[in-house]
């Protein structure tokens, strides 16, 4: 199994949107996918199942050694896509357990997911590279970093590079998939310049070729609690995420 964390220094850049739609793209392609919400605010859960606030989830597993993995999995209408919401264990991130033992528990979690036959585990995360997000990154295989294509947002890039470098000292197997430009508006000069500017500044290896356009359908999808691909008129967005999936597969050397 390959675990991919969707993480960014800044909030609101599209992590949850990317997580859901990327998980959907992998699942459509036939991979057995587990989508996990590791953001204590639990937005993947809110978005995909109305009831998720009442469900147990990732934080309950972290906080309670007796909590079984199987009790957390929520199936979706798609056979190849399951999810685990954030759950009830809120505030856990600042509880007493900030230590290597949390990393070990996250590793157990990923080990259990693998043993259940999942091929891909996508983990949505809270903004920042600290706390539980850091622990998840220390345990995972790869990280994808959404970055909003706007001039001011780009300022967080050095901080993010520094943070990831520090993390890699703790997790030498962590693959950096790179920055994924999101909410790109090719028809708006500032957005296009920010996107192209970042591509010029960073080594090509650190920026995904595919980008996520800004589109009102994403908002509509998250309001309805579905991946954007199930809505009318989403063909272009669906294919953008499929290209992204292919790019990730080739970067990580994955094949079905």
């Amino acid at each position: 199994m390959t675990s991919i964390v969707v993480s960014s220094q800044k909030g609101g850049v599209g992590k949850t949107t990317v997580s859901i739609n990327l998980a959907f793209a992998f699942a459509r392609a036939g991979w057995n996918v587990l989508l996990v919400d590791t953001d204590p605010q639990g937005s993947v859960g809110l978005s995909l199942t109305r009831q998720s606030r009442k469900l147990l989830g990732f934080f309950d597993y972290l906080g309670d050694q007796k909590q079984t993995f199987d009790g957390l999995v929520v199936p979706t209408r798609m056979k190849t896509l399951s999810m685990i919401p954030a759950g009830q264990g809120e505030g856990y991130e600042l509880g007493g357990g900030y230590s290597e033992s949390v990393v070990e528990r996250v590793k157990d979690f990923l080990g259990e997911a693998e043993s259940r036959g999942y091929d891909i585990c996508i983990l949505d995360s809270a903004a920042g590279l600290f706390g539980i997000t850091r622990d998840v990154l220390v345990a995972a295989d790869a990280v994808l970093v959404p970055q909003q294509a706007e001039p001011l947002g780009i300022r967080s890039v050095p901080k993010m590079l520094k943070g990831l470098t520090e993390l890699r000292a703790k997790n030498t197997k962590l693959s950096i998939l790179g920055v994924l430009l999101t909410m790109v508006q090719r028809d708006v000069q500032e957005s296009a310049e920010a996107a192209d500017g970042l591509r010029e500044l960073l080594p090509a290896q650190l920026v995904m070729k595919e980008e996520v356009p800004r589109d009102g359908l994403f908002l509509k999808a998250s309001g309805k609690g579905v991946p954007v691909g199930v809505l009318q008129g989403s063909a272009k967005l669906l294919s953008a995420f499929d290209e992204l999936r292919l790019e990730i597969e080739s970067k990580l050397g994955l094949s079905l």
């Binding site: 920042g128 990831l164 703790k170």
Partner: protein
């Protein structure tokens, strides 16, 4: 390109990108022991404050939040009410303005608390407290200053009471008032 250059130091960015792409085992591994209490530096409150202020000036990241002349004042207060082992000040973007903590992890926890503040407070403005070692408590205290809201991470041997927290924040607020801040 022009629109983002002013926001970034391109050389720095290149250096960071190279470091990130270098094989991970080639990097030197800095080990931070988060939970070990024996590593604690038990310095007095005023020393901790002076160090924070000095570091902030030296790195030139910010102008010191705490006026130098006011340091003894705050130091005295802390000495009288709690054994201060460390202190850091961060803004709500997670930028560390000052840090004199015996352990980097506790500064990071303060950053985490500051950037996730809306979740932690949920209506209450009382401070959050953590036991981080057998004789160390980390308390997060929000302080409204001329620079906007800041979060102070205070590492002490004894927990401060609510009334003391209020005293502490008003002391910090007082000494960071605009006309008092050193240039």
């Amino acid at each position: 390109m022009d629109s983002i250059n002013p926001w970034l130091d391109v050389d720095e960015l290149n250096r960071l990108a190279k470091a990130l792409m270098a094989p991970a085992d080639a990097q030197q591994t800095k080990k931070v022991e988060a939970s070990k209490s024996e590593g604690l530096i038990r310095s007095s409150a005023s020393k901790v404050l002076a160090k924070a202020s000095e570091m902030a000036k030296r790195t030139g990241v910010i102008t010191p939040v705490v006026r130098k002349a006011a340091l003894p004042e705050l130091g005295d207060w802390l000495n009288a009410h709690a054994r201060c082992q460390g202190l850091c000040v961060v803004n709500l973007d997670g930028d560390v303005l000052q840090a004199a903590m015996p352990n980097e992890e506790w500064t990071k926890l303060t950053v985490l608390a500051a950037t996730t503040r809306h979740r932690l407070e949920e209506g209450k403005s009382s401070s959050l407290r953590l036991k981080v070692a057998s004789e160390s408590f980390l308390q997060f205290i929000s302080v409204m200053t001329a620079r906007g809201p800041l979060l102070v991470g205070l590492l002490t041997q004894n927990l401060l009471k609510d009334s003391q927290l209020i005293e502490f924040s008003s002391l910090v607020e007082g000494i960071s008032a605009p006309d008092q801040v050193e240039k």
